[in-house]
Symmetry: C2
Subunit: 352 residues, 2 copies
């Protein structure tokens, strides 16, 4: 099977680019004494998670229980779930997962910790809990080192829990402020006999400068395996580093300046990327996908000299790789123009 | 099973509101002599397609072959596929579908018609083809009545095809220009002995004024079954008319003004709606979901007097119902707070 046998729109992954991207990140982590714990939300494929582990990753990161369960089914044995897991149903699933793999989670409130402490009571097999810290991303996380200490004390006092350290999702460009925040918290925790073992930081955009957060022990990049248009707009990588494309067909050419693709928001997602339009057409880089309806990509060709014909097939680099992986049931894993495998995206759509 | 047994985030559909919305649209169509051919992309559920047919719809509309196949599997016998179907694999699937159900398609180019004419050759069972017209939406469609006539002649000359009429997706607020465009094309076609049988128009926002396009014979609204925040922003319906909500849990309250939901862009989609934020929290209408990451909804509570606690469950009306239905594997069909059925969304993710 080769590329001409693929019906469009389809998700294509270039295995050679993936291999290069995975190795570069592992090499950086190794060179800087950081443990790598890739976030698998970008690919959602156990195959790639296993490759990341084989290259030296200490484990993986998942955001939802369903993703973690699918990865455990796929043979991954060390999973970090940096999320507040709430409610009896999810806590039961968390307990089942804790019996299968090396598991760790986060909390940013006493409410979350009450749930963990009530459900996990086995001092011989405690659940490691990291405290999530908001170092400027303004999402989840405690706001001060004092709050981090208060939660660490609750964790340490619970027989079935173990204080695992600190976790942060640094804002893009916020390495220095993250370092300051975490260093202060580490000092306070250490003074109080709760030295954090793991300091986990995340994010692909600043991945190549992660070592500037000198207190970090591990990093959790995700998008680096594929890269995308958002990463390129942020100065991370080039077209040659983008492993994920959506193969699309030109289905209409209503006017000389207009082409319509069979890939719309159901294939490319509506996320913006700090660059004009909804994806980069590799064969026509001057073209602008200026709008998406669900099943149509609306392309402005006015800046193009060469222009595509009806029926022509093109590769589109999406704005945001992770959400695109969530839209397809299958990924075509490509070696050049040959399909090496059609992989079912087992972690797609795992919302709970 | 009731609402407290549902794990979040989850897709909820209020069956009583659905019933009202379906009846109101059918009543309007009946009162104005329009045939109703609902677009099923909003719900993607054969159950609701069958209800639409039982109320008087003449058939359904699907945008992709895979959706149409799933609907045929679900017992729907009359399907309109307003799309340029290109390439041998898709044409084979189209032919298989043509043998199962009453099928019609569109074309806006001679290239598309060449494919149809080569694949469909049985004069005893011709494929009806409508010409897609661009009346101002600037998507697919011929640009002039002359072009429509040229394509109608190609269709009429092909033994295995039948000229079915004209199809347009009127731009929002473009009823008058659509009427003018279509009336001119109808006159030209009629003068040339190719009077179009069906004049099919689409879109929920102007649905209640569809009869102003006096030449139309059928309409293809989709979103009206659920409604959403975009429809409300356009003046179509109120919160009481919105049948689709995403049930979400508050997983973090890092600051007094901030709440974080367990529903992000993977549950609510990143589509904007001409209203602030990424969805309306029914229980806290002053709250603004000002940003989404994939698994977190970032909520600004600064305008709220009452504020939610960690663990509290809320209903969110999404900005765009159709894309949200494409993100969930299952819909919880609710009668009040009771779950009447957990329906598998069989047409979800049908991209080809």
């Amino acid at each position: 099977m080769d590329i001409t046998d693929i019906d469009t729109p389809a998700l294509l992954i270039d295995l050679d680019i993936v291999a290069r991207n995975l190795k570069a990140a592992q090499d950086y982590a190794d060179a800087h004494g950081l443990r790598l714990r890739p976030h698998v939300k970008t690919h959602k494929l156990p195959r790639f998670a296993r490759e990341q582990m084989a290259l030296g990753a200490v484990g993986i990161t998942c955001q939802k229980l369903g993703e973690a369960e699918a990865m455990a089914d796929g043979g991954i044995s060390d999973i970090f779930l940096p999320y507040n897991i709430l409610g009896p149903r999810k806590l039961d699933r968390l307990a089942a997962l804790h019996d299968r793999v090396t598991l760790s989670v986060t909390a940013d409130s006493a409410v979350t910790l009450q749930g963990y402490a009530a459900r996990f009571t086995d001092a011989a097999h405690p659940l490691p809990v990291l405290v999530e810290c908001d170092t400027g991303a303004k999402r989840c996380g405690v706001q001060t080192a004092d709050e981090a200490l208060a939660l660490a004390r609750i964790i340490a006092a619970a027989p079935g829990l173990r204080f695992g350290g600190l976790m942060a999702y640094p804002p893009r460009g916020g390495l220095a402020q993250t370092q300051d925040w975490l260093a202060g918290a580490i000092a306070l925790l250490t003074r109080n006999n709760l030295p954090p073992e793991v300091i986990s930081i995340g994010g692909t955009p600043d991945m190549a400068r992660a070592a500037e957060i000198t207190c970090a022990t591990e990093q959790r990049p995700g998008t680096y395996i594929y890269n995308d248009r958002m990463q390129m707009a942020w100065g991370h990588g080039t077209v040659a580093d983008c492993a994920q494309t959506v193969l699309a067909t030109v289905v209409s050419r209503p006017t000389p300046d207009r082409a319509i693709l069979d890939a719309g928001s159901k294939a490319l997602a509506a996320d913006l990327a700090g660059a004009p339009g909804h994806g980069l057409i590799v064969e026509y880089p001057q073209a602008v996908i200026h709008a998406l309806s669900e099943e149509h990509g609306h392309v402005d060709l006015s800046a193009c000299t060469a222009r595509p014909e009806i029926g022509e097939v093109v590769h589109v680099i999406p704005n945001h790789a992770c959400v695109v992986s969530n839209l397809f049931d299958e990924a075509h894993l490509m070696r050049g123009d040959k399909v090496e495998e059609v992989a079912r995206i087992t972690s797609r759509g795992k919302l709970t």
